[in-house]
Amino acid sequence: MNPLDALFQRLRAEKRAALMPFLTAGDPDLAFTQQLLPRMAAAGADLFEIGFPFSDPIADGPVIQASYTRALRHGLKLADIFRSLHEVHQTWKAKPTPLVAMASYSLIYRMGATAFIEAAQNAGLCGAVLPDLPVEEANEFASVAQERNFHPILLVTPTTSPARAEKVVKVCRGFVYVVSVVGITGTREALPAALREQIARLRTLTDLPLCVGFGVSTPDHVRELQTIADGVIVGSALVKHLENASSDRTAALTAVCQLVKELRAALG
């Protein structure tokens, strides 16, 4: 069984939503990412979305874009990311925290879908969020992924028509990434009112867990979302604490773990 499925099965039984922090690999370097992941898991992360830095992200706001730029500044390569995730995964043998990649299709195409999935699985990743691959273009990746029990995860947004949503959820495995807002990643004051209806509509189309991201940043957001979603994805609010990590690692680590604890506490 894919670890993602095992996780959501367990959380459903516990009637609790999953906390999924987003973390950029290699910001400011991979040694720090390796240090951060187990600490965040201990602080309450149920699974991780690992951002693969890309030079030209379109769906990301200024915080994550800046994080990608910091990570790429020293010539970070995909092979290095896979290697260091593999090392982290080795230390987690007893109870591994599931990892999913978030990678632009520009990177995946260059490497090739099969090679990317193989490398990702070797590194301990159990799925990939594809932020810029529409369902119409996702067939090749999805079929290779499904053969290997690697979960392709596409996004549904407020602008997705019901007909499109039906196609998207059919391709997804593991969970469906529900984008809460029309826009890019980044913190928001409040979550949109229409989100509840959006999720209710999706429930009629799929039994897959629904995880909400984009704009989710505070314990209040998380409290609100846990009543309707199976998971919450928090990115920019955490990544913002990495801005000065290169000069003060301890402070960044403490701040990130503190927020993870608060978010986890909000989930009850």
């Binding site: 769906a59 529409p134 549904v156 602008t159």
Partner: protein
């Protein structure tokens, strides 16, 4: 029907927006409904006689089309071979071919009931064209421009602002056209329900490469007619510069099914062939995904976009339109490159011999046209797509000449 009949090269894209393997849509899900809406609106407009008539009227009365096909006698003498004709897109209102597309897309914006437009710009000509169209139709307008280009193209920044557009300097990445495009896409991600993104070249997700090509095809259609009328034959060679490739696509498209006409695209060779020193995507790149489309790109082994350089802000781009990739693979168009130094020399030469200052983008095409003309007989005709005027580049050329930094 005989199924072995060759398909016309012009019979692209297919319904998925593919030019052979190239093109398609590689964008966040948030934008998909807008691309579907745009595709529907554009297809309806294209077959609506009222829309076509309105567009044609604007091209004639506002832009000043048809643009002239001009025999450059002194450049011809300089090359000492084939006759060189200039298709004078520089004489259009706003000084470049970009206005053709900006007006077309502004009309589509109105049809979709949207009141705000955004655009990316490199040299600033597309930004100016979009600001112009926005002023004409009373649309709110924001133009994203890399900070490096804001510096290089101060005149165009002033023009945009004078027409009521907001110019938004982009600080991220290399602060050039690629980064302006990222920023415009991000704006669109948030504003897509009320805003149309007027992409300025034959790049981006379907239907942009097709739609921009169509709006620019007046260049090639007029050239065809003018050659037949003025010369009694089709041209032998046509040369155009290629960044994203909109002037070249508009010029070449009506000729791709005419095998007697040799088509040559000129990319920015910059300082040389080393990575980071040029923007010659088809010459040095390989297929990949950038800005919503599958096409040749300049990337590293991981798929990270490579740094590019060109003296010409309009060619300073690591991608190229998917239809150019298709023509490149079919060997229908030959793509070569020209260096910064050669383009600057052509800028001065054209000024001195013809009294016409070309845009630095256009100067790239001139270099190759002169080279080709020199090897041909006076019976042959070489047409250069004279995509824009050089006023915007004067300050930068003066600075480079003073520095002698090349």
């Amino acid at each position: 029907m005989n199924s072995t009949l060759p398909t016309a090269i012009s019979a692209v894209p297919d319904a998925r927006g593919r030019f052979g393997p190239y093109g398609g849509r590689f964008v966040p899900e948030t934008l998909m409904f807008a691309l579907e809406q745009l595709d529907t609106a554009y297809r309806a407009a294209r077959s609506d006689p009222a829309f076509v008539a309105q567009f044609q009227r604007l091209l004639a009365d506002y832009v000043g089309r048809p643009s002239r096909l001009y025999l450059a006698e002194r450049l011809t003498r300089e090359a000492g071979g084939a006759r060189i004709y200039l298709k004078r897109e520089d004489l259009n209102h706003t000084g470049a071919h970009k206005i053709n597309n900006a007006l077309g897309q502004a009309l589509i914006t109105l049809r979709m009931g949207k009141r705000r437009v955004i655009a990316e710009t490199g040299a600033g000509m597309h930004g100016v064209a979009t600001a112009t169209a926005a002023a004409l139709f009373g649309l709110e307008c924001r133009v994203y421009m890399g900070n490096e280009d804001v510096r290089r193209q101060a005149l165009n920044v002033f023009r945009m602002r004078a027409m009521g557009a907001e110019v938004f300097p982009v600080e991220s990445g290399s602060r050039t056209l690629k980064d302006a495009t990222n920023e415009a896409m991000r704006d669109w991600m948030s504003s897509v329900e009320t805003t149309h993104y007027i992409i300025g070249s034959v790049v981006g997700p379907h239907p942009f490469p097709m739609m921009v090509r169509d709006f620019q095809s007046c260049i090639g259609q007029e050239t065809k007619q003018q050659c037949l009328q003025q010369l009694g034959k089709l041209p032998d060679v046509i040369v155009a510069c290629v960044g994203g490739g909109s002037n070249a696509a508009g010029m070449f498209y009506p000729f791709v099914d005419e095998p007697s006409v040799e088509l040559v695209g000129v990319e920015a060779g910059g300082r040389g062939p080393r990575p980071g020193d040029h923007a010659a995507t088809l010459n040095n790149g390989r297929p990949g995904v950038l800005h919503g489309s599958f096409s040749y790109v300049l990337q590293d082994d991981d798929g990270q976009t490579a740094d590019v350089h060109s003296v010409s802000a309009g060619l300073d781009y690591p991608g190229v339109g998917p239809e150019h990739s298709y023509w490149h693979d079919l060997h229908r168009v030959r793509y070569c490159s020209v260096s910064d130094r050669e383009a600057l020399d052509a800028f001065h030469l054209c000024g001195r011999l013809e009294g016409i200052l070309p845009a630095l983008e256009t100067a790239h095409a001139l270099v190759e046209a002169l080279r080709i003309a020199a090897t041909r007989s006076p019976d042959d005709v070489v047409v250069v797509c004279f995509s824009g005027r050089g006023d915007k580049d004067c300050a930068e050329v003066a600075r480079l000449t003073a520095q002698n930094s090349l």
